[in-house]
Amino acid sequence: MRQEMILEVGGVTKTAGRRTLVKELSFGVRPGEVCGFVGPNGAGKTTLIRMITGLIKPDSGQIRIDGVDVRQDRIAALSRVGAIVESPIFFPYMSGRGNLLNLARLHGNLHTSAQRKARVEEVLAIVDLSGRGSDKVKTYSLGMKQRLGIAQALLGSPKLIILDEPANGLDPMGIRDLRNLILKLRDEQGISFFISSHLLDELQRICSRFVIIKEGGMVWQGTSGEWVDIAGTRGLEEHFVELMTR
């Protein structure tokens, strides 16, 4: 029997004028899986993430989240997803807690003020920001903003979290904290992740599957183990460069 996918991308194409941004992309992410989404700058990673989160519509193809077609029922599909699209830009005039409380109002599963407050405290604790929750976001470091970004993604108790270049600009400690947080959420809450990044070594440490694209089209996809086997002694980075220059 075919295993249900938490994210299914089927033959998705997006063009802008004469330029094809995403070309016939098809892949899936299984429940509890951390999937790395890799490609050079301008390959179409953010465009695809915008399509998955319903910000832009594909010209053709289908995107299903937990079995729900994003195009047909965007609201139902997004109720299963949390995301950081590009860098998370918060409302700088509000505290971290204030931002989360404001955004929590937009989740149908958090009806009452007490539910929203409890959920916000819960997610602040998960990302270890309870102590700084009352500070204005503009005083946060980049690492704290990324953690707050994951906190806002967790608000609706998602089954899938999409992260777009989450490690950008983070120092080694910030990257380690982020990695531990992702693994904790996967292991303890069974959340699946779809992560775009350039940091191959970092992705290798957390991802069980990879999707590699170039100029909007699929170059390779498979498990982490398969990629390591194919790359052999050259390592992932060298093999990635080879794939990009073919």
Partner: protein
């Protein structure tokens, strides 16, 4: 929808720009009151005047304040809410939630409508209060149509009606500037294009002159001497602007 409105309302009032606009606007209204307080006559236009009294003070205050509200404060706040939040990238956190884009715009529109009602009501209340404080009461007043005489309670209703008509114009402006702000690439361009549209409307058709000449149009309407249609164009601008912007929000690609 309630949650969306509350979320928007909270963000709108947390923005410094909103509070500063309200404080500055109130200060300017008070300054205008002092200015009017030392005048003996209020002018309907270049020819027609009337002695300033406690009863007609708020109407002449509206004339002084209308440009500030329609050409600066309202466009600034509308552009900030509809374009500024999006082009700054902050709205993305809202857009990726399980909500309808059209409803999100509707929530913004309703919040802005309520906020602009607040600005209009503040002007009215300050005008009534300052009028009774700075000017003598009159048993009867005349406005642009000298044949119509209003006693005190009728003059109060006249002032309320005038502010009501002004608010209708502001709502039409909200829909129009909302549409412009949804189409323009950034807040600054949105603001100046909106100004261009509001001012240029007068040159497109006299019917649309109420955006720029709101007080003058209201005086004529209340006197029964306004020749062009008013309610139709105002309602069409409000309705079409609102629906067109909802359509834009529902269909657009959110690339910021």
């Amino acid at each position: 929808m309630n949650s969306l409105i509350q979320s928007e309302w909270q963000r709108m009032w947390k923005r410094k720009k909103t509070l500063i606009s309200l404080i500055l606007f109130t200060a300017i209204v008070l300054f205008d009151c002092l200015f009017l307080g030392v005048q003996r006559f209020g002018a309907f236009d270049n020819i027609h005047t009337a002695p300033l009294t406690a009863q007609n003070f708020s109407v002449f205050l509206l004339k002084e304040v209308s440009f500030l509200l329609t050409l600066i404060v309202a466009p600034l706040l509308i552009v900030d809410s509809i374009n500024g939040e999006y082009t700054a990238g902050q709205l993305r956190l809202v857009l990726i939630r399980p909500i309808s884009f059209a409803r999100l715009f509707a929530a913004k529109w309703l919040n802005l409508a309520f906020m602009l009602l607040l600005f209009t009501a503040i002007t009215f209340m300050i005008g009534e209060f300052a009028g009774h404080l700075l000017k003598p009461a009159a048993d009867s007043v005349r406005y642009l149509n000298p044949a119509q005489v209003y006693d005190r309670s009728e003059a109060f209703i006249y002032a309320l009606q005038s502010y009501g008509l002004f608010y209708l114009i502001v709502l039409a402006e909200l829909s129009l500037v909302g549409l412009v702000s949804s189409l323009m690439p950034n807040a600054l361009v949105s603001f100046f294009v909106s100004l261009g549209v509001l001012i240029g409307a007068l040159y497109i058709s006299d019917t649309l002159g109420f955006f720029l000449m709101s007080a003058s149009v209201i005086f004529q309407l209340m006197a029964g001497s306004y020749a062009a249609p008013f309610y139709g164009p105002v309602l069409v601008c409000t309705g079409i602007g609102f629906l067109a912007t909802m359509g834009v929000w529902q269909r657009r690609s959110w690339t910021r």
